[in-house]
């Protein structure tokens, strides 16, 4: 039986671990070292971006800096990862022409992951390989993988989540979840797992490592002997470490403009609310990744995670999305009470269509602060009224509970009144939900073309179907700052007695007003007929 090296480099910094990756790979490519299974750990915690990712796009740099989280770049591909001291990395360095190593990358991934699955199964965890490089337990990711090569050598690596802090991960990485609220954190937790969550305890690290060694031994048909780094590797490590500590390396990738766009959409149907968060490439042709969450039930329970996986990197074309979702529902006998596959298709497609806003000049960072009612953004024009939330006024304002504003300059409502005047709209302060409904019905009677308004996303989510029931088209712009929903004061707000103050995004309101006040509808309607297929 072939004997490989077992190398445990212990706990090191991110830069040291990345430098060792390169050093070991180079040594292997020169045939200076045996085929190797390496274990690694990180301290301090760090974020590692994939080889081709841009740090600014993937990492919340300020948060990492303020919380002493290192940032570095892998030599392998894939996405950004958060590593803390509890996670374990495993890596294989080997010759490509080793008899046990598949030539086709896809097959190589499968074999490597099966070794780790074998290990996890032996620990009592029901792990299996998921196509496109993940290891999952009941459809929840427990290990991500990636690889690279140099000459006749390759390196394949994976993470193993042992005990996982989702909250810190979400704060350190730019993952497309809305405002990091509890629900979104929960939705991420549903998609990942770790040994502790699966077993209820953390097995000793030696036991975990031993299981992984045994897994590779079994699947590759090799044995392992513990050996240290060679002198060649130590020398190479010393040579390359400065590069991996340098900002040139960490910030190596700078694309000419941001590579992707986050788009979010809320869709409501009888069966509940569907929230879609997706990331599209900046040419807006592909869905890089997608999260489908919300208040709905679906059977089988984790089917949505598989659907997300299938939609990853797929074309942003209506026909393609429709076919994928329909086929998926059928093949997996998916059912969601009160929802059909058509609802999911529409929810996803409505998110994709938000790129229309970019084409109209809305800044990429503002796209998800705009909600629409009754039609697509591109089709809404000639607003007559500006609906404003009373909670935008100061709690001690004389006009807090009545129409009007003396534009004292002490809140953002006064500025909004000025904007309304500038663009010829009638400003109406909405005191409570009852008034909103009455106002909208009245405006409908007046046959206005559309309205512009400002409300928080939670209000929009709650009342989207009410807006649509009434049947007026409109554009709503998100408010900043803490809302009644955040503070759990919804009932007070509904009654008009919420005592906090929110702030309007007047610069975005003005941008939308400028676009829409004199625009005619369908000027750039790219959703007519065949063009619905692809944006």
């Amino acid at each position: 039986m072939d004997t490989w090296r077992l190398l445990d480099t212990g706990v090191l910094t991110a830069a040291e671990n990345m430098a060792l990756d390169e050093a070991i790979l180079r040594a292997k490519s020169n045939n200076c070292v045996p085929n190797t299974l390496r274990f690694l750990q990180f301290s301090p915690p760090c974020v590692l971006v994939g080889h081709h990712q841009m740090v600014e796009q993937e990492v919340r740099i300020d948060y990492c800096k303020n919380n002493f989280i290192d940032i570095n770049r892998r030599i392998t591909g894939g996405g950004a990862l958060y590593w803390d001291e509890t996670q374990l990395g495993w890596e294989i360095f080997a010759s490509k022409d080793h008899p046990g190593i598949p030539l086709k990358i896809e097959d190589l991934y499968k074999k490597m992951c099966e070794a780790v699955c074998y290990a996890l199964n032996s620990l009592g965890v029901n792990a299996r390989y998921r196509f496109r490089n993940d290891i999952e337990v009941n459809k929840r990711k427990i290990s991500g993988t990636g690889g690279t090569e140099l000459g006749n050598a390759f390196m394949f690596q994976g993470t193993l989540l042992i005990d996982f802090d989702v909250d810190v991960m979400l704060k350190a990485l730019r993952i497309p979840v809305e405002k990091l609220k509890d629900k979104e954190i929960q939705s991420i937790k549903e998609r990942v797992t770790c040994l502790k969550w699966e077993l209820g305890y953390v097995p000793p690290l030696d036991e975990i490592k031993s299981a992984i060694v045994h897994g590779f031994s079994r699947i590759l048909g090799v044995s392992f002997i513990q050996q240290p780094l060679s002198s060649v590797e130590r020398k190479l490590f010393t040579e390359v470490l400065p590069e991996f500590q340098s900002m040139d390396w960490i910030e190596k990738i700078k694309y000419s403009h941001f590579k992707h766009q986050e788009l979010r959409n809320l869709y409501k149907a009888k069966g509940g609310l569907i929230r879609v968060s997706l990331v599209m490439d900046s040419l807006l042709k592909r869905i890089n990744s997608i999260l489908i969450t919300g208040d709905f039930f679906v059977y089988p329970r984790n089917a949505i995670f598989d659907l997300e996986c299938i939609l990853k990197n797929s074309p942003a074309q209506y026909n393609h999305i429709s076919t994928v979702v329909t086929d998926f529902f059928k093949a997996n006998s998916v059912s969601a009470p009160g929802l059909s596959e058509a609802d999911f298709i529409k929810a996803i497609w409505d998110a994709v269509k938000k790129i229309d806003m970019l084409k109209e000049g809305i800044h990429p960072s503002a796209v998800n602060s705009i909600f629409t009612v009754g039609d697509d953004f591109i089709n809404i024009s000639k607003p007559s009224v500006l609906l404003l939330p009373y909670c935008g006024k100061r709690p001690d304002c004389d006009y807090r509970k009545k129409e009007g504003c003396n534009e004292c300059g002490q809140c953002s409502i006064g500025d909004a009144f000025q904007l309304a005047r500038k663009y010829g709209l009638r400003p109406i302060t909405i005191q409570n939900y009852e008034m909103l409904e009455k106002t909208l019905w009245q405006l409908k009677k007046e046959k206005i073309d559309s309205f512009i308004g400002s409300c928080c996303e939670a209000f929009y989510a709650k009342h989207k179907d009410d807006f649509e029931r009434i049947g007026l088209t409109g554009i709503l712009i998100d408010v900043d700052n803490t809302t009644c929903y955040d503070l759990g004061k919804i009932i007070e707000a509904k009654l008009g007695v919420f005592e906090n103050q929110t702030f309007l995004n007047n610069s975005l309101i003005e941008q939308v007003l400028a676009l829409k006040v004199n625009a005619s509808s369908n000027v750039r309607n790219i959703n007519n007929g065949k063009s619905e297929e692809q944006i």
Binding site: G50, H51, H52, I75, T76, G77, G78, G79, P102, L103, K104, I105, E106, D107, Y109, R132, N133, T145, G146, G147, T148, E149, L150, I253, Y255, S256, K259, D281, S282, L283, K285, N313
Partner: protein, 141 residues
């Protein structure tokens, strides 16, 4: 030429890292072969680099990525990058769609023409490649 179902244009040169080379006199065009592209799967990133960079024979100077796998691109000659395929920055899938045409990677000026003698034409490539293909197909059976 069709080698066991993989396309290798007759007029190109090849190396054992699965790149094709087109000799344009004062410069070469470099790309990935049909075999390499089909082994790799769909490309999602290309680090295209910048014109003006000097490259050395057998040294890595750019990278590509498919399915979280980073592939290194090596120069077959000493020279200087005179052009990069900028379309690949946002449309890396062009490599999959047309690896011998729109999916070209870089153009490199030739410093020493004698280095091209190390490359293979399609007839020289064939026996070596057949072994590689056998290994892949053997895995598939």
């Amino acid at each position: 030429m069709d080698i066991k179902g993989y396309i290798f244009p007759d007029e190109l040169l090849y190396d054992k890292r699965h790149f094709w080379i087109k000799d344009e006199g004062t410069f070469i065009i470099l790309g990935m072969t049909d075999f390499a592209v089909r082994l790799a799967g769909e490309f999602v990133f290309v680090d295209i680099g910048n014109p003006g960079r000097k490259v050395e024979k057998d040294q890595m100077f750019m990278s590509v990525e498919s399915g979280k796998w980073v592939g290194r691109v090596y120069s077959p000659i000493d020279g200087e990058i005179i052009a990069v395929n900028e379309e690949l920055e946002f449309e890396p899938e062009r490599i999959n769609e047309d690896c011998y045409g729109d999916g070209w990677l870089v153009k490199i000026s030739i410093k020493d023409r004698s280095q091209l003698a190390d490359l293979m034409d399609v007839k020289q490539l064939e026996p070596w490649l057949i072994d590689e293909i056998k290994r892949v197909k053997g895995e598939e059976e």
